[in-house]
Amino acid sequence: MPLRAGRRKKAEAALASAAKPGIFWVPEMNALVVKDLHVTIAGQEIVRGLSLVVPRGEVHAIMGPNGSGKSTLAKVMAGHPDYEITAGKIAMDDQDLLELEPDERARLGLFLAFQYPSEVPGVTIANFLRAAVQARLPDGEELEATDFYARLYEKMELLGMDRSFTSRAVNEGFSGGEKKRTEILQLAMLEPKYAVLDETDSGLDIDALKTVAHGVNSLRGPDIGILLITHYQRILNYIVPDHVHVMVQGRIVRSGGKELALELEERGYDWARDGAAEPAFTR
């Protein structure tokens, strides 16, 4: 139910009454919802009134120029402690996330594929993932090692990763492509309800991009909502989104179908920025 430009107010009203059935019903019970979010760091406002709904089963792309606040949005959703949220809300399946620690959000089913993943020296990918999978099990339940490795190898094959990778320390000495692949491997293993992919395409050559896209596409389905954050249209040729949003200066300025990405590629962010005076909004 995409809304046309100029209907933002009504859409916001819909969000406000989202739980109630009606014309503007938004399925919050099955969506990642950001509502009128304002975020500052060191006194500077980076996200300025951003609203977004990513229902489960859909792939949404956020496109935006450098400095538009895309990565800040991703980190804030995951609960990065450096940012201050001055207004707004973030909810996942109707559960308020803002009061939760990053690990609580993760265990509830939120995954962030980092633009710049950290190294974890001395901790192998296998051990790291085992700890992460174990953390999702109920108290007292032990992870079955053989099942774990069977799944791990299956996912690695999907991503064209050699098995020897499992004994390498997480991201230590990895190339850019290896890091991104490792992020997607973790996504595949942890089976989140919602995944935010922050510039997963950056620094990838075309072959690596295809492999990563293949990995993401194979995870698509009714049980996962994906938010794809990117600077370039290129990745959207391989991971075709259901909806595209353009983010400029901390706000969504245009929303549309997958064709919006192509239009943006053609006309540039200045065109989108010009439209910011009359912002678009959609679910």
Binding site: P81, E101, P102, A106, V120, V123, F128, A169, Q186
Partner: protein, 447 residues
């Protein structure tokens, strides 16, 4: 002569539990000749051991506290307020069934359940200063290996142990070795006959369960020609939840030294977690040609703790090689100090030393120092020293939390990663234990 001696030690300030003390023998508070005689009487020491103790006491009273490098913190020890000897009323027992129930419970809390014994070739566990549980697997005994408490060793095997007793670490080595000589009780005496290779590590667990109580064990391991043995010991001081950092009242002052004859290898694996101040520098004197010495050490200094650890490598023959790998972790206001001594005199040829020390700082208030003292004279000897300091970044913790790990789990996994390449070379049961201890320590320090 070819011997291979590995020694393993773990010192743990973990264990938030304590059971009623049931000591029958108590030498009282403070130290005098009377105390020494009391201990000798109780232990039915031979006369030469009693004399050894008295000489130890005299040296202890004469020697000043070490001042050239020791921490000021040492002055906080009030030697008049320490109980020098405590023992439950039971004699050392060999079967698990004979171990008193409350002590069994303590061992269970420590994670040394009965089923774990199958891993252990022999377990000689000590509750306070007396061995209460001693179970040496038949096989070890059949090989002629002697694995006993110090009292029994001196009493029943003087022909083996007397020759070396007090030789590697003499009474006058330092003030604390003199104190130990005066009041020692407990500890292990091990003799491995020529050519015997003890497959499984020999283990001794013991604990401190009374406040203001010094544990003065003395361990002597003799690995005869062509033999191999690994010895493991652990020490847990109880921590009451209501009294914060009870185990941080413990001073851990230990002298550990190995003497390696020709072609022999002595390896120390030393881990220090907990206690207010640890000063421990396992050493190897490489006395015979081609002897090798190795020290792997891990220290974890939490808030209010100072781990002053390191290694001493004394090269005393040609073609001797030594290797030191030290890893320290400082948490909160914890402080880890590496102090290393490498000594190669002028007349020696083809000696080698490698030293690596890595420090990990968890918080901005954490502290680490490195004091390597390397003296290499002559030509044709080689040493190398590498040191690094790293920090767990908040980005790394956030990354790990995003995967579902709590902050404490993320910290402990990071710390385990930091020590991982070293721990991999440890005996399996030891690395598992160490991992669990790091987890416990990190849980307590976060949040």
């Amino acid at each position: 002569m070819k011997t291979n001696t590995k020694a393993v030690d773990i010192n743990r300030g973990i264990g938030d539990f304590a059971y009623p003390e049931r000591h029958v023998r108590d030498a009282g508070i403070g130290l005098s000749e009377k105390t020494v005689h009391y201990i000798s009487d109780v232990k039915e020491d031979p006369d030469w051991v009693r004399e050894f103790r008295l000489r130890g006491l005299k040296t202890f009273l004469e020697k000043p506290l070490p001042t050239h490098w020791a921490s000021k913190d040492l002055e906080a020890i009030d030697f008049d307020k320490i109980r020098y000897y405590l023992a439950p009323g039971t004699a050392p027992s060999r079967s698990w069934d004979e171990v008193p129930e409350d002590i069994k419970r303590t061992f269970e809390r420590l994670g040394i359940p009965e089923q774990e014994r199958k891993f252990l070739a022999g377990v000689e566990a000590q509750f306070d200063s007396e061995a209460v549980y001693s179970n040496i697997k038949k096989a070890v005994g059949e090989q002629g290996v002697i694995f006993v408490g110090s009292t029994e060793g001196l009493k029943n095997h003087p022909e083996i142990f007397r020759k070396w007793f007090g030789k590697v670490i003499p009474i006058g080595d330092n003030k604390f070795s003199a104190l130990n000589s005066a009041v020692f009780s407990g500890g292990s005496f091990i003799y491995v006959p020529p050519g015997v290779k003890v497959k499984h590590p020999l283990q001794a667990y013991f604990r401190i369960n009374a406040e203001n109580f010094g544990q003065f064990e003395r361990t002597l391991i003799i690995a005869d020609e062509g033999s191999e043995v690994t010895y493991m010991e652990g020490c847990t001081a109880p921590k009451f939840i209501t009294v914060q950092n009870w185990s941080s009242n413990v001073f851990n002052l230990v002298t550990k030294r190995g003497l390696a004859h020709e072609d022999a290898e002595v390896k120390w694996i030393d881990c220090n977690i907990g206690s207010r101040l640890t000063m421990k520098y396992p050493g190897v004197i490489m006395k015979g040609r081609k002897a090798r010495g190795e020290v792997f050490s891990i220290a974890l200094a939490n808030d209010g703790q100072h781990q002053d650890t390191g290694a001493k490598m004394i090269h005393a023959a040609d073609e001797t090689t030594s290797n030191i790998i030290s890893k320290s972790i400082s948490i909160g206001k914890g402080r880890a100090t590496y102090r290393g001594l490498v000594h190669v005199p002028k007349h020696l040829k083809h000696c080698k030393n490698n030293t690596e020390c890595d420090a990990l700082l968890i918080n901005s208030t954490s502290r680490t120092d490195t004091y390597p003292a390397i003296t290499v004279r002559g030509t044709g000897n080689a040493v190398q020293h590498e040191a690094s300091v790293s920090q767990v970044s908040s980005e790394q913790i956030f990354y790990m939390q995003q995967r579902g790990l709590t902050e404490a789990q993320a910290m402990s996994l990071s710390v385990n990663g930091f020590v991982n390449d070293l721990v991999r070379q440890f005996p399996m049961e030891y690395s598992v234990e160490l991992k669990r201890l790091i987890e416990l320590e990190m849980e307590g320090s976060v949040g």
